[in-house]
Symmetry: C2
C-alpha cells in the first residue's frame, strides 16, 4: 500500500497505449446514434427515474459503441447492434448504481430472470423457456416491464439474422452477462477485492465478451459457431486486452463508484502496488495481449482455417472491434464525467477528483487542486465522497 507524503493519490498518468489495431466509425455513425437514442427513449425511458436521468445516460453517447465496433456492417445491422449495446449498458448502469439494480441482489436476480425469460424465443428448448418469472412483488417492477419489452424487440430484429446455433449462444451470453452483473453486485455489496484471475473471470462475463463476439459475427454476417475451440486463444487475448483497456480508461468512474471489480483496484488493493505502478503494469499487459492477439490471429490465418473466407472476414472484424472499443472509451463522457467533451487526446494526467476530467499535459498544481467546475446537479456520486484508490 502506498502512503505518499503529499496526501492521498488523486492523479495518475496514462501513457499512450499502443493502438496497433485499426478503427473506423461506421459511415452512418451519427444517424445511428441519434436514432438509437430515440429507441432508448421509446423502450427504456421507464428504467430512468426522470427525464434528467435519461438525458444523463444519453449524454454518454453509448449509441456510438455499435457503429464503432462493427463499422463495416450494413446500416440495418449496425443499428440493431447499437440498440443492443445501449440495452446492456442501461443494465450495466443500474447494476453499478446502489440506488438502482445494484441496491439488492434478489431484486436484481428477479429482474434478470425476467429479462432472460422475455428474451427466450419460441424455438428454444422448454427447460429455459419455462423458467418462471421470479418477482419480489405480485406486479412486475416498471423497469422490468421496460427491459422485457426492449429485449423482445431486440430479439425479433436480431434473431432473424442468426443461425440456430447463434441464437442459442445469444441466450446463453445474455444469461452469462447477467450472472456476471449479479456477481459484481454481490462482490460490491460485500466490499471484497478479488485476485487478478478471479476478477477477470467475472469481468469476462460482465463485460459481455460472448455477446460482443456474437455481435461481431452478426455485423460481418458470418457464423463461426463451429470454431469456438479454434478461436479460443485469439479470443482470450482479445478479451483481456479489451477489459484491461476498459478498466484503465474507466478507472476514474469505477473509483468514484467504489467498484471493487476492476483490474486496477486488484493490482492496488490485492497485490499492493502503488496506483501509478499498477497503471504502468496494466499498460504493459495491454501491449502484450495486443501483440499476442496479433500473433495468434496471424497463426490462425496462416493455417488451414485461413482459407475460409468467413474466418478471414471475422478476424478482420475483431481487429476493428478492439480498435473501435478503445476509441469509444476515450470519447465517452461515461468515464470522464457528465459534461466532458473529447478533444482527441489519448494520454495525460487524469484527476480522480475532478467531476469532469480530461487528459492533462501536466499534473495539477497546488492551486488547481480545487474542483475545476461545479458538480453537475445530476452527478449522483460526487468524487469527494470516496477515498482515492490505493491510499
Amino acid at each position: 500500500m502506498e502512503a505518499p507524503s503529499s496526501g492521498p493519490v488523486r492523479e495518475f498518468f496514462l501513457p499512450e497505449l499502443p493502438r496497433t489495431l485499426p478503427f473506423r466509425y461506421h459511415p452512418k455513425a451519427a444517424q445511428i446514434e441519434f436514432a438509437s437514442n430515440g429507441w432508448v427513449r421509446e423502450y427504456l425511458a421507464d428504467c430512468f427515474a426522470s427525464e434528467s436521468e435519461l438525458l444523463f445516460f444519453l449524454r454518454q453517447r453509448n449509441g456510438l459503441y455499435g457503429p464503432l465496433t462493427i463499422p463495416d456492417a450494413g446500416a440495418g445491422r449496425a443499428r440493431d447492434v447499437a440498440d443492443w449495446y445501449q440495452f446492456v449498458t442501461v443494465i450495466d448502469t443500474f447494476v453499478s448504481d446502489r440506488t438502482g439494480l445494484g441496491a439488492d441482489l434478489d431484486d436484481a436476480l428477479a429482474v434478470f430472470g425476467s429479462i432472460v425469460s422475455d428474451f427466450i424465443p419460441d424455438q428454444i428448448p422448454g427447460q429455459i423457456r419455462g423458467r418462471p418469472r421470479a418477482t419480489a412483488a405480485d406486479e412486475p417492477r416498471v423497469d422490468q416491464v421496460a427491459y422485457g419489452r426492449a429485449a423482445r424487440d431486440l430479439w425479433r430484429r436480431i434473431s432473424a439474422g442468426l443461425s440456430r446455433a447463434q441464437t442459442q449462444r445469444l441466450v446463453t451470453a445474455l444469461a452469462d452477462f447477467l450472472r456476471g452483473c449479479a456477481t459484481e453486485i454481490d462482490t460490491k455489496l460485500a466490499g471484497a477485492v478479488p485476485d487478478y484471475e478471479t476478477c477477470l473471470a467475472v469481468r469476462l462475463d460482465s463485460f459481455g465478451c460472448d455477446f460482443i463476439e456474437l455481435m461481431t459475427e452478426y455485423g460481418a454476417e458470418v457464423d463461426l459457431s463451429d470454431l469456438r475451440t479454434e478461436l479460443a486463444e485469439v479470443h482470450d487475448h482479445c478479451r483481456r486486452q479489451m477489459i484491461i483497456v476498459n478498466d484503465l480508461l474507466s478507472w476514474r468512474k469505477e473509483h468514484a463508484q467504489d467498484d471493487p471489480m476492476t483490474v486496477v483496484r486488484v493490482l492496488v488493493e490485492h497485490d499492493g502496488l502503488p496506483l501509478q505502478a499498477a497503471v504502468d503494469r496494466l499498460c504493459e499487459l495491454v501491449a502484450w495481449h495486443e501483440r499476442e492477439y496479433t500473433r495468434t490471429r496471424d497463426a490462425l490465418l496462416a493455417g488451414p482455417l485461413g482459407a475460409r473466407a468467413d474466418v478471414r472476414a471475422y478476424l478482420g472484424a475483431v481487429d476493428l472491434l478492439m480498435g473501435g472499443s478503445q476509441e469509444f472509451e476515450y470519447l465517452t463522457p461515461r468515464y470522464f464525467g457528465d459534461g466532458a467533451v473529447w478533444d482527441g487526446s489519448t494520454s495525460g494526467w487524469i484527476d480522480l477528483h475532478a467531476p469532469v476530467t480530461r487528459f492533462r499535459p501536466t499534473p495539477l498544481t497546488t492551486d488547481e487542486r480545487a474542483p475545476l467546475i461545479p458538480l453537475p446537479t445530476d452527478e449522483r456520486l460526487p468524487a469527494g465522497d470516496h477515498p482515492p484508490g490505493g491510499s
Copy 2:
C-alpha cells in the same frame, strides 16, 4: 399582440418542415468533430472565462456544422471548414452574451477590427491591410490575441486552396459578418425590434451567408467568383430558407437571450402576430423558399450554365448545405439547452421555459409546467429571467 387567458405563452408547436433537400454526414464526421474540438482548445481556450465555459461551448457540437454542410469534401478541407465554423460560432456566442463581446459595441468593434487585420494576407491591397488596431487599452485583450492567432491559422490553411478572387471575397465576407454582429449588438442594446426586411438584411450578414457560400465552393473545389450575379436568385432563396429555419429552431435560445434580431420576434412584436401564427407563417415561408430555390436552381441547370461541371458540382453542394444546416440545427444543444441530446425527432411542442427542452408529442400538462430538470450550474441565462415572446 396576443393575451391568452391562460397566462403568457410558453409553448409552440413546430410542424414537420418539408426537408425536400438531401443531407449527409461526412464519412469522417466524428473524427473531424473531435479533432476540431482539440483545435478550439488549442487556439480559442483564452476566449472562455474557464474550462467549464469552454466545455459548455464544445457540448454544442458546433464542430459538426462543417462535416454536415460539406459532406462530400476531402477530409482535409472538411476539417478546415469545421474549424472555420467553430471560430465564427465562438464569435457569435460572445456577441450574444451581454457579459462578453455583446456588452459594449466599441470594445467589440476594436476586437473585430483586429480580427480582420490579423486575417489580411500580404497580397491584399494596402487600404485594408493598413487598418490600425483600435484597442480600447494599450495591451490587446486576451481574447483578441486568441482570435488573431486562430484567424491566422485558418487563413494559412484555407487561402492556399482559394483563388485570388476567392481570397478577397473571404476577407470581405468576414468583415461583413463582423459588421452584422456589431449591428446585432447595437440593436440588442437598444432593444428595438426591426421590420422583416431590415431584420433579414442584418441576418444575411450576421448569419455569414457570403462565407457559407465560399466554404461550399471550397468544399467542392470550385471557384464561381465569376457567377455571383447569375447565382444571386438561387442564393437569395437558399439564404432566406436557411435563416428562417435557423430562427425557428433556435427560437427557444434567442427568446431566452432576448435577441431582437430574429424573424420570429419580428412577426410577433413588429407585425403583431400571435406566436403560433408567426411560427406557422414562417413554416410556409420555409416551404416557399425551398420550392423557389429548387425552381431557380433547375432553371439555371437547364440553361447554358448547366453545361459547366463546376456549376453542377456547386449546386449539388448547395443542396447538401441547406439540408445539412437544418440537420445540424435539430441536433445541437446550442438551441435546446445545455445537456440536451437529440433523439431524431423533428416536430413537436417546444417549451420556452424548460432549461433543456425537446420536441414533445403533446403540450405540457398543468403538472408539467414546473421546470423539467434543475438548471445546469453554467446555464448563464435562465429562461425564467425573461418574459416569453409575444406576450
